[in-house]
C-alpha cells in the first residue's frame, strides 16, 4: 500500500489554475431592438425643437440613428394642433403659440406607421434666473445658478448651458503649406509647396463653444421657500483653455415637474454615475411617452412644457489670476538653434513660422497656429462683447 501512495505522489501533476476571460455576447444582443428616443420640450416663449432618434447597438460602433420622416404634432386640451417640420437630423421644429392655462401633449407618427403620444402636461412658468455666480475652487472656476420663485410652486429645476470662449493662436505664420499627392512617385506620397502666407488663411481669433453634456438638476423641495442658492452648473478646471482669454456661459433654466425630475435623475444615475463593475445595477424608468399600438414598448424621453429663462455672464482672464493653462505650444527650431531645420524635418506635424537668418525655418505645432484646429469658429458670435 505504501508503494501505491508513493506512486500517487510521483504521478501527481501540480495544479495549474487558469482564470479565463472570454468574450461574452448575451443572446439578447443578436437581435437588436431599436427603441424610440424623444428629447425636447414645448417652449412657451421660443421655438420648440423635438429631437427623435433610435437607440443603436452597444456592441457595434454605430452612428446615431435619427428618426426622419415622422409626423410630429403638439396638441392641446383646447384642441389646437400644431405640426412641427423635420430635417434630416431627426429634429422637428415649430414656433408654437402657447396658452399657459391649457395642457399639451406630443403626438408622433413614425414613417413605419407607429403612433406615439405623451401624457398631457401643464405649461410651467419658469422663474427668472437671479444670477449666475462663480467662485475660484481648487484654482479652477465653479459656476452656480441662483434663482427663486416667490410663489413657491416651481421647486424642481433643470439647467442647460452653452459655453463660448476666445481662442487666440499662440503663433502666427508667414507661410502657408499646400499638400499635393505626387501621383507619379508615390514615395514620398505627399509633396509640400511653400508660398507666402495668405493673410486670411489663419484667423487671428476663433471662438470655441460647447453645450452642456450632463443632466443638471436642482430642487428646493427641502426648503421652506422656493429658493435655489449656489446650485452647481459646471466646473472649469484650471488647466482648461476656456478662460485663457475670455469666457462666456449662457444658462437656460427650465421649471420641470417632479415626475420629470425623477425621470431625469434616474437617467443621470444610470448613465453618468456608473463607473466600476462594483457599482449596483442600474434600472430604467419609463417616461411619459408611450406607443399607442403597443403600450409595453419602451420609449425613452419625457415631454415637458415650460417657458425658458436665460442669463449670460462673461469671465475674463484678468478675473482669474494664476490661471494654470499650458497650451503646450513651443517654437521648434528657434533662432538660436544651430540645426539646419529643413522643412523635411518640420513637416507635416509643424508649420513654419518664418525663415531664419542662417537658413531653415522656425516652426510650431499646427494647433498653435490655426485656431480652427482647436474647434474654434473664426466668426464672431453676435453676443460677444
Amino acid at each position: 500500500m505504501k508503494f501505491f501512495y508513493q506512486k500517487v505522489i510521483i504521478g501527481f501533476v501540480i495544479l495549474l489554475i487558469v482564470q479565463c476571460k472570454e468574450a461574452y455576447e448575451p443572446a439578447v444582443q443578436s437581435s437588436i431592438q431599436r427603441y424610440l428616443v424623444v428629447e425636447g420640450f414645448l417652449n412657451a416663449n421660443g421655438p420648440t425643437t423635438i429631437k427623435i432618434s433610435k437607440t443603436s447597438s452597444v456592441l457595434k460602433n454605430e452612428e446615431m440613428q435619427p428618426e426622419v420622416g415622422a409626423q410630429v404634432r403638439v396638441e392641446s386640451t383646447g384642441n389646437s394642433v400644431h405640426t412641427l417640420s423635420g430635417n434630416t437630423n431627426g429634429e422637428y421644429t415649430a414656433n408654437i403659440p402657447v396658452n399657459i392655462n391649457e395642457k399639451y401633449r406630443l403626438l408622433i407618427k413614425t414613417s413605419n406607421g407607429k403612433e406615439y403620444a405623451s401624457a398631457f402636461v401643464p405649461v410651467l412658468k419658469t422663474p427668472a434666473i437671479d444670477s449666475i455666480s462663480w467662485v475660484r475652487e481648487k484654482n479652477g472656476v465653479q459656476i452656480y445658478a441662483n434663482t427663486h420663485n416667490p410663489a413657491n410652486n416651481t421647486r424642481y429645476y433643470k439647467w442647460e448651458y452653452e459655453e463660448t470662449w476666445e481662442i487666440i493662436p499662440e503663433y502666427r505664420s508667414k507661410f502657408d503649406v499646400e499638400e499635393f499627392a505626387d501621383l507619379e512617385n508615390p514615395v514620398p506620397p505627399v509633396i509640400y509647396i511653400f508660398h507666402p502666407r495668405d493673410p486670411d488663411r489663419f484667423p487671428r481669433i476663433c471662438w470655441g463653444s460647447a453645450k452642456s453634456s450632463q443632466i443638471i438638476l436642482g430642487s428646493s423641495i427641502k426648503l421652506s421657500e422656493d429658493r435655489i442658492y449656489l446650485s452647481p452648473l459646471t466646473y472649469i478646471p484650471p488647466t482648461s483653455e476656456k478662460v485663457v482669454h475670455k469666457y462666456s456661459i449662457l444658462v437656460k433654466q427650465h421649471a420641470i415637474s417632479r415626475e420629470a425630475f425623477d425621470f431625469l435623475q434616474n437617467m443621470k444615475k444610470n448613465t453618468e454615475e456608473l463607473g466600476s463593475i462594483f457599482d449596483p445595477q442600474p434600472s430604467e424608468s419609463r417616461g411619459n411617452i408611450s406607443c399607442l399600438t403597443n403600450p409595453d414598448e419602451l420609449i425613452i424621453g419625457y415631454f415637458t412644457a415650460n417657458t425658458v429663462e436665460e442669463k449670460r455672464i462673461f469671465i475674463k482672464n484678468e478675473q482669474v489670476p494664476g490661471w494654470e493653462y499650458d497650451s503646450g505650444c513651443f517654437i521648434k527650431c528657434p533662432e538660436n538653434d544651430e540645426r539646419p531645420c529643413k522643412y523635411e524635418e518640420i513637416f507635416p506635424a509643424f508649420i513654419p513660422l518664418y525663415r531664419k537668418v542662417g537658413g531653415g525655418y522656425t516652426s510650431a505645432d499646427r494647433k498653435c497656429v490655426d485656431c480652427r484646429l482647436r474647434g474654434g469658429d473664426p466668426v464672431k458670435p453676435d453676443f460677444w462683447q
Binding site: 495549474l16 427603441y35 428616443v37 443603436s56 427641502k222 444610470n270 457599482d279 434600472s283
Partner: protein, 924 residues
Amino acid sequence: MRFLRYFILSVLFLLINLNLLAQERRDSVVTTSKKTDFEQFIEQLEKKSGYRFYYNPLHFDSLQISIDTTQKSLDMILNQLLENSDYHYIIDLQRNIFLTKKYEIKGLPKEFFDDSIATVENKEFKIEDYLLGSKKKEVVSSLENKLYELGTKQATPKQGKAVLVGYIREEKTGEPVIGATVYIENPRIGASTDQFGYYSIAIPLGRNVLYIKAIGMKDTKRDIVMYSDSKLNIQLKEQVRSLKEVVVTADKVANIKNVKMGVERLSIKTIKQVPTVFGEADVLRVVLTLPGVKSVGEASTGFNVRGGATDQNLILFNDATIYNPSHFFGFFSAFNPDVIKDVELYKSSIPAKYGGRLSSVLDVSSREGNRKRFSGTAGLGLLTSRLNIEGPIVKDKTSFILGGRTTYSNWLLGLLPEKSGYKNSKASFYDVDLHVAHEFNRKNSLYFTGYLSNDRFNLNSDTTYGYNNKNVSLKWKHSFNNKFYGVLITGYDGYKYNVTSEKNPVNAYQLAFDINQGNLKTNFTYYLNSKNTIDFGVNSIYYKLHPGSFKPNGKESLVVSDIISPEQALESAAYIGDRFDITSALSLDFGIRYSLFNYLGPKSIYTYPTNIPKNEYNLLDTVAYSTGDLIKTYHGPEYRLSVRYAISNNLSVKAGYNTLRQYIHMLSNTTAIAPTDIWKLSDLNIRPQEGDQLSVGVYKNFLSNSIETSVEAYYKRLKNYLDYKSGAVLVLNHHIETDVINTQGKAYGLELMIKKTTGKLNGWMSYTYSRILLRMNDPLLGQLINGGEYYPSNYDKPHDFTLIGNYKFSHRFSVSLNTNYSTGRPITLPIGKYHYAGSERVLYSDRNQYRIPDNFRIDFSMNLEGNHKVNQLTHNSWTLGVYNLTGRKNPYSTYFISENGVVKGYKLSIFGSQIPFINYNIRF
C-alpha cells in the same frame, strides 16, 4: 499487531468459555484507604477475598488506587474502581477475576441463571456478564446488558413518572454527543441531547429500556429501573465499520421524529467526504449542496437560504456571530475543519432562542478537546496547512483544542499568466481557534471559545485589502436540578476591514470599517413533564459600528479625512418556547420571541420630508442626539410554530410558520459577501426587515430507515428588504438612506431530497425549484423599479440539482463525487445606446431581466487511509481529486466595458479547467 490482540482475546474466551456463572460476591473486604499502587492493591484484595486476579500488569502500571474498601463487597469495590475507565472485569465460577483494558469479556446476565431479579442495596449493582463464546463476534458493550437501578428505592413501588437526565458522551474522547435521540418505546417518549450532550426525559417509574441513537455513533440501549428522578451518563461508541460482521440496525429516525422542519445537520465526517476545490474540507461549501441553499457564484462564500440575502443568515460559531465566514475571496471558509464537530442549518423552523436574521441560522459547533489524552491532527494541502492539538488540562475535567490554519498561496498567484492582471498579487490568511471546556462538577461546566481570522490581499495594485473576525465567548452551564438547567453566555464579536494605499505618498489613504458587538445571553431549559420541554431566556446585543473612516496614510498624504460618526444600538429579546408532545404521533413546537431595538445616540441624523423620495436634494435637516439618547425604537413579536404528525414509524408530515425581524443590514456592492461590504443598523430612516415563512413537508424513510426522503415546500414574504437605487454609493456615504430603497419580496420553492445514510454507497441527491422576487411599487419612496412589477433578485436561481455520492470500496479506499447544476443568476444588460441631453448614454434592460449561462460542475475525489493499526505513532491519510472534472467554463461574472466607443461584454470564469488537488492528513 491488531490480529495478535484478537488472537489473545479469543484464547482467553475459549479458556473461560461458558463455564462462567453468576455468583454472589458479598465477601466483605477490608483494606487500607491509602494511595497504593495497583499491584499491591490487587495482592491485598486476593488475600482478603480469596479470589484470584488475572491481568496484564503493563495495562495497569500507571493506575493509582485511592479507594475506601471498608465494609464493601468485592463487586462494589471493583465497580467503584473501574467506573468511568476503560478497564473492565469479569468473574468466573472458579473465583477467578479477569481484568482487561479496552476490551471487555462478555458474560451472561445474572438472570440467565437466576429467576429472581437481583436486588442489591447499593444503587449500582452489576449483573454478571456473559461470554458470547464465539471468537469472531465483535465485543459488544456489556453495559447494554446491565440493569441500572436509578433513584432512591422506595419501600412501596410507586406509579407515575420521573425525570432522567444526564450527559451523552463519546466514549473515547469524552466529547458530548449533540442531537442524540434518547427514547423508550412503550409508551413512546423521546428526547434529544442539546449542544452539551445533555438530555432530560420523563419516563414511567419502573422497568424501562432506554434507547440511544446518534449520528455516527453505535446505537445502544440501557435497561433501567427507575425509582425516582435520577441521573445517568451514557457513553457512546463511535460507529466503527472495520468489523464486517457487525450488523448495524440503524433506526435513524431523526428526520421523521424531529418536530422542527428544514433542519439539516452535517457532521464533519460527512463534510469531509465532499470534494472541494483545493481538497480541504469546507463547511460552507457543503452547506451549499443542501436543498434550498445557493450562492451567486463559484468562489463566493456568502450563501442564500430560501431566497434570503447573504446578510440574512445568522452564522454562529459556538454562539459567537461570524460576520465574514470566508477567506481568500471566498475560496475557503473561515472554519477550520479539524476543530469542527458539526454544523446545523435551520432554514425553516428557527428556534425561538435565535433571532436577528431573516433567513436562517447556521450553527457551527466545535469539538471539545479530548478529555483523556493528548492528540492532534495536521493537514498539508497545496495552498493551506493546518495543525490542531487537543488534550486534557485536568484529565476528565478540563480539556482544550487549539487549531490553526495558514496559507501559502502566493506561489499560485505567481503562476498566473501575465495577461491575467493578477500575477503580482499577494494574498494571505490565517485563523486560530481555541476551545476550552471545564467541568467543575456535575452541575457546573464552563466553555471558552476564542476565534481569530485574518485576511490580507493585494490584487496587483498598490491597494491592500484586509479584514478580520475576532470572537471571544464564555459559556457557563448550570443545572439547578434534574429538570431545570440554564446557560449564561457572554462574549465579544468583532469584524473589521481596511483598505490601504501607500504607493503614492500624496494620495496614500486608509479606509476602514468595523463592527463590534457585546453579547449577553441566558437560555434556560425546563423539562416540565414528559410532554413539555420549555425553553426561555433573555438575549441582549450591544452594537457599536464605525461605518467608515477615510484617513491620510503617512505624513506626506494630502488626503482629507472623512469620518462617519459611529452608530450604536441595543438589540434585546425575550423568548419562551415549548415542545409539546400531545400524543406520541402529534407534537407541537411553538414559541414567541419579542425583540426590541434601540438606536442610540450620540449621532447626527438627517431628516427628510415625508411622502417624497429620500434623496440628496431633499435633505431637510440634521438632528444631533447626544450620548444615551434613544433615537429610534423598533419592537415587535416573532412567532415560531411547527407541528409534526407521525403517520407511521417511517412517515410523517410537518408544517411550520415563522416570523422574524432583522435590525442590521449588509450593504453590498456585489451579490456575494465581499470584503468591502459594510453593515448598517436600522435607524430613523432605515426600517428593520421583516419576514415570515409558511412551510409544509412530508418525510418518508425506506429500507429500515436507511433511505430518507423528504419534500418540503415554502412560501415566504419579505418586508423592507433593502435594494439599491441606480448608481448607489455605499462607501463613505453620510446619508446612505438616499441610495437604498425598501422593497417587498416574496419567495417560494419546493425542495426534494433523497438521502442514503448508511452502506457502502451513501450520499444525497437534491433538487430545488425556488424563486425570489422583489417589488418596489411605492412611488413615494423613489423611482419604481421595472415599473413597479416583481423582478427577480440577484440570486434568483430557479433550478438547482445536487448529487453527492460516496462509495467505499474498502475501509481504506473510498471515492466521492459532487455534481451540481444550477440556473445562471439574473443580470441587467446594456441593450442599446442613445443620445440625450448632450451625451451618448447606455440603455439598460429591465433590472435582472437576463441571466448568465447555467452552471454545471462535477468534482471527484479519492480518500486513501493508511493502515488501521491502533498503536502507531501517526495515522495518515491522503485526499486527492479533481475539481471541475469536465473543465466547463462556468461564468463567475459577466461585465461590460466600453472599448473604443463599443461596449464589450466579457465572461469571467475562475475555475475554467480541471483542477487537480492533493491533501495529506496526519492524526497523532
